[in-house]
Amino acid sequence: MSTLRLVWEVIRYRPGRFFFCMFMWTLVHGSPLLFGILIGRVFDRLADGGSVAETAWGPAIVFAVLAIGRNLIIWLGDRVWIKHWIEQSLQLRRNLLRWVLEAPGSRVLPLAPGEAVSTFRDDVDDLLEYMENWVDMGGLVLFGVGSVWIMASIDAGLTGLLLIPILLTLVITQALSPQIRKRRRAMRSATDQVTGFIGEAFGGVQAIKLAAAERPVLDRFHQLNTVRHKAALSDTVLTEVLRGVNRNMSTITIAIVLLVAADAIGDGRFSIGDLAIFLTYLPRLTDYMAFAGDIIAQHRRTGVAYERIRALSVDAPDHELLDRARVSLQGDLPHIELPDIGIAPLRRLEVRDLSHWFPDGGEGIGGVDFAVERGSFTVVTGKIGSGKSTLVRALLGLVPSRGEVLWNDQPVEDLASFFVPPRSAYTAQVPRLFSESLADNIALGQHAARERLREAVQLAVLDPDLERLEMGLHTMIGARGVKLSGGQVQRSAAARMLATEAELLVFDDLSSALDIHTETELWRRLLAQRDVTCIVVSHRRAALQRADQILLMDRGRLVDRGTLAELLGHSELMRSLWAEAGEAA
């Protein structure tokens, strides 16, 4: 999509507001044309002196009224524009987030969450800043054409001469302004380096003291400071150069006018008022040219910003990212219930020839076949890096895969959108919680789940913790759940999964944060109360002993399967894993 097309699609969200603002800004940028003429009148009359001077009152007072009225227009226009900008920024952010969270297919974010946020923030802002230029565009053109026309009607030759430095401003600015951005970025990253280093150095001050490394660490700090110092100066230099170009061009144009007028005023071809008009227009015209130069530079950048937004979405079509559905800014909050997808209860799940490769060429999993019956307990085990987690993630469509998955003998088309509650639910190895109350984390906004909250908490062995938390289920758990211990996070995530009442439960290794007694208790409660089908990644005895079936993974392959007794009987690998599990217990 071309950048102009893109801007048009963005504008179409609320074209009424956009064109209203454009109209207001055309007035704001165009009105200085009148100011020039009025100031010209005033000084023509003052120059004549005597009784004519007294008629200078008129244009002076008109100027006063217009100058103040113009600010009123700015204020009215800005009031609308601000609302429009914020709403539109939310529209684009909402579209992107919605695609990432809801779109079909598997989704692996191409960036770390921290970096991805900068696309949500900076790239969306870039896009809107560019759109903002188009609001100014009408006024810029009006003033540009109008002022040149007025000046040319006073002295065409002189005006022609002035166009050279004026256009030069445009050319130089558009060439230099990308450089400014680059240096700002260098400055920011140098600053990040410095603050990051201070944080690390004082975080590890004990290690530094113990190693008597104060001197070399300070030397390193000095190096980073120097880099930042240089980056800051380089930024200052370029900013000053740009400003210099702008201001000097303005000076040069006025000097040219003065030199030409020196001749022309004498023979009456050029009045003092004409001079005042030129002096009023020229600085503004060079300013606007610099602005236009910046717009040209932004035009190129905008395409890149949109590309980054698209890249983050991986595969969103333009009409999704630019969806014009209004952002809900007032009225009742949307009330959403789980759609009744009328599922067939799970009888049997079958996996055929499931494979996954990591994009960086790392080992994935290949050719895995197995089946799971209703009500059974399947444990996936193996050494670290054997592909256990990858297997369940591929099955659930969290990473792209090849092969076939059958639900009650029916092939599943899109794993990612199929394997959701009420069919299945999943707890990741490192589950993520959100900075809301514990109850909201477990129910995840689903009203139905709220009713099952107590039961889910009890099943997940989270009830003893609740007594110790000050506000119980209403405790705000902090960003990413920092106020909870590792085990509490793990159990909360389990409760979150159990609250969905899904048919198939997939646990990816609870052991890293649960002690052995808690894990045993969790399995006991879960299996005692519910007719559930479980797939569990684990190397703990507590899980292995309960398994109806164990899937033994090694280097990305399913190398063996069977009950614990069978595997201990014939698999050397299983025996060593079992022994290791004992060590841990």
């Binding site: 990432v100 000097a255 004498g266 001079l275 909201d440």
Partner: protein, 579 residues
């Protein structure tokens, strides 16, 4: 402790070393101010001469004067900005480094009470505020003040009515803007908070994208996003509307100034007090004072920010460490460690009570006991991160209070559980940024079994912050490599309590064995496995030694706590319930 900031002291301390450049800066600024005052005067002369019908050549000279003055002024101004920034950064980078050096010298009591985030705020945030104060106070505030004064003086000189008008105008607008500025500051803070919560929401959900998608919670999350968006919309809108009011008010004041200049100009010309050229001069001057007025209001506010920074940094600089350096140099090779009736308390909480023991040179001691019992404190007293309240700690027979600290640091190597790694290369992480020959570094990595790994990826490999990309075991191995590089006679180890994968476990075991050779070793054990090779065992509970003796003797005595631990089994019983 003074509560009021010492602006003058700050200026002389940090600008003193740059006296020469500061003088140049002042000259540049004065030159630029002079030219800014002169340029409108040139235009006035031009207009008046043109009306009087002067010769074209005279007018042309005014035109050329305008060009020269304009370009020179711009150059002076640009150079002044550059110089101001340069001086500001030189001065404050020095302040940052001095302050860090001072903070490093403070004892661990201070550092345990502060977070790295606070330190970033002090060493960078506050110092940056001071930098703004230094570079801007001179360049902007003073220059703006001089320029404003200049304009007012010239106007009074031209015509008293004109002087009066401009003076009243400047005072009124300054008062208005200073008042409005507060509104703008509140708005900016509000805005920062609001965006933090919007992007916080987004960041958390992106981090949990697997959880959300696998639980089919995408639509619910988007529904939850609605109130977040509404909050962002309402609050950002409010903040921006405030900001726009500030901006439009200032702009109205400035344009009203233009109108006032025109009207007063017309009035004075009609009365015959001034010429048309001088009327134009008023207009020019009123436009000229816009920028300094804006700068003054902005800088006055920066000044308040800097004041806080100056006071806080002053307080930090007054802090002194309670650990006083000694003079004795420790000999190389393994050294004896001796505690004599040592007691230590931290924040009024007793941590150690009358601890006495002796470890011969080259022998090893395993420390057992529950977390919080005092094991770590014993090791910190050996490396003199603290001094004991009572009793004496001796290393190599010398009271630590009499030993030179750099000599002590060179003689003791420490491996902690949480390995401190920097976002830097492997090389810098091992040497703490000090230069060391590559073959020595490689030899140290060979000793811990990471030699083949590092030859594959190179010493220049960047490690992420907090050792991102390395497992806990690998981080521990790097800490071991640091010790091999240092080659001290005494080593203190705090064994990792989390479970490691078997390969790393084996590498660690081998590395530990090598460390033992020819060194005095104290090791905090979380697993009994670890102390099976130490010469002595010491069990510490609630700040006291409850058992101490040769491992073999204790192991053979069925009543000892050690053999009790051996009999009941494994790591869990050592009391480390940490996940």
């Amino acid at each position: 402790m003074t509560a009021s900031p010492s602006y003058r002291a700050t200026l002389t301390t940090y600008l003193g070393p740059h006296r020469g450049r500061v003088t140049i800066l002042v000259i540049l600024l004065l030159g630029s101010i002079g030219l800014q005052l002169v340029i409108p005067l040139i235009l006035r002369t031009f207009i008046d001469s043109a009306i009087a019908g002067s010769a074209a050549s005279g007018l042309a000279i005014a035109g050329i004067a305008y060009l020269v003055a304009g370009v020179v002024n711009q150059l002076l101004d640009a150079f002044a900005s550059y110089l101001g920034a340069d001086i500001g950064w030189s001065a404050t980078n020095r302040l940052r480094e001095e302050l860090s050096s001072h903070l490093f010298s403070l004892d661990m009591g201070f550092h345990n009470d502060t977070t790295p985030g606070e330190m970033i705020e002090r060493v960078d945030g506050d110092v940056t505020a001071i930098s703004e104060f230094i570079s801007r106070f001179l360049v902007r505030l003073v220059a703006a003040g001089v320029l404003l004064t200049g304009v007012v003086v010239v106007c009074w000189f031209e015509a008293p009515m004109m002087g009066l008008t401009v003076t009243i105008y400047v005072v009124l607008v300054l008062a208005l803007l200073i008042r409005l500025r507060k509104l703008a500051v509140a708005a900016a803070e509000e805005e920062r908070e609001t965006s933090a919560s919007l992007y916080g929401f987004i960041e958390e959900r992106l981090a949990g994208v697997d959880d959300i998608r696998s639980l089919g919670a995408g639509r619910f999350t988007m529904a939850r996003f609605v109130p977040v968006m509404r909050d962002f919309y309402t609050r950002t809108n409010l903040a921006w509307q405030k900001r726009i009011i500030v901006w439009v008010s200032a702009n109205t004041a400035f344009w009203a100034g233009d109108a006032l200049a025109l009207i007063v100009g017309v009035w004075l010309v009609v009365r015959g007090s001034i010429t048309a050229g001088t009327a134009y001069l008023i207009l020019q001057y009123v436009q000229l004072v816009r920028r300094p007025i804006e700068q003054m209001t902005q800088e006055l506010q920066e000044l308040q920010k800097a004041a806080g920074g100056i006071v806080r940094i002053d307080q930090l600089r007054r802090l002194e460490t309670s650990i006083v350096d000694g003079e004795v140099e420790l000999p190389p090779g393994p050294l004896a460690i001796e505690f004599e009736e040592v007691s230590f308390s931290y924040q009024d909480r007793g941590v150690l009570e009358g601890v006495s023991f002796r470890l011969e040179p080259g022998r090893s001691l395993g420390l057992l006991g529950r977390t919080g019992g005092g094991k770590t404190t014993i090791t910190r007293l050996i490396s003199r991160l603290y001094d004991p309240d009572h009793g004496v700690v001796r290393v190599g027979g010398h009271d630590l209070r009499r030993v030179r600290s750099d000599s002590l640091r060179g003689s003791i190597g420490v491996v902690t559980q949480d390995v401190q790694l920097f976002r830097a290369t492997v090389r810098d992480n091992l040497t703490f940024f000090a230069p060391r020959p590559d073959d020595e570094i490689l030899a140290a990595l060979d000793a811990v079994g990471l030699g083949s790994w590092i030859r594959g990826v190179g010493l220049g490999t960047e490690l992420g912050s907090a050792g991102q990309g390395l497992s806990a075991g690998e981080q521990q191995l790097l800490a071991f490599a640091r010790v091999f590089l240092q080659d001290p006679g005494v080593v203190i180890l705090d064994e990792p309590s989390s479970r490691l994968d078997p390969v790393t476990e084996m590498l660690l075991a081998t590395a530990t064995e090598r460390i033992y050779a020819g060194r005095t070793v104290v090791i905090i054990a979380h697993r009994l496995e670890t102390v099976r090779t130490t010469d002595q065992i010491m069990v510490v509970e609630a700040g006291r030694i409850v058992e101490h003796g040769p491992r073999e003797t204790l192991g053979a005595d069925p009543d000892s706590r050690y053999s009790g631990l051996l009999a009941t089994g494994r790591g869990g019983l050592l009391g480390d319930t940490r996940p």
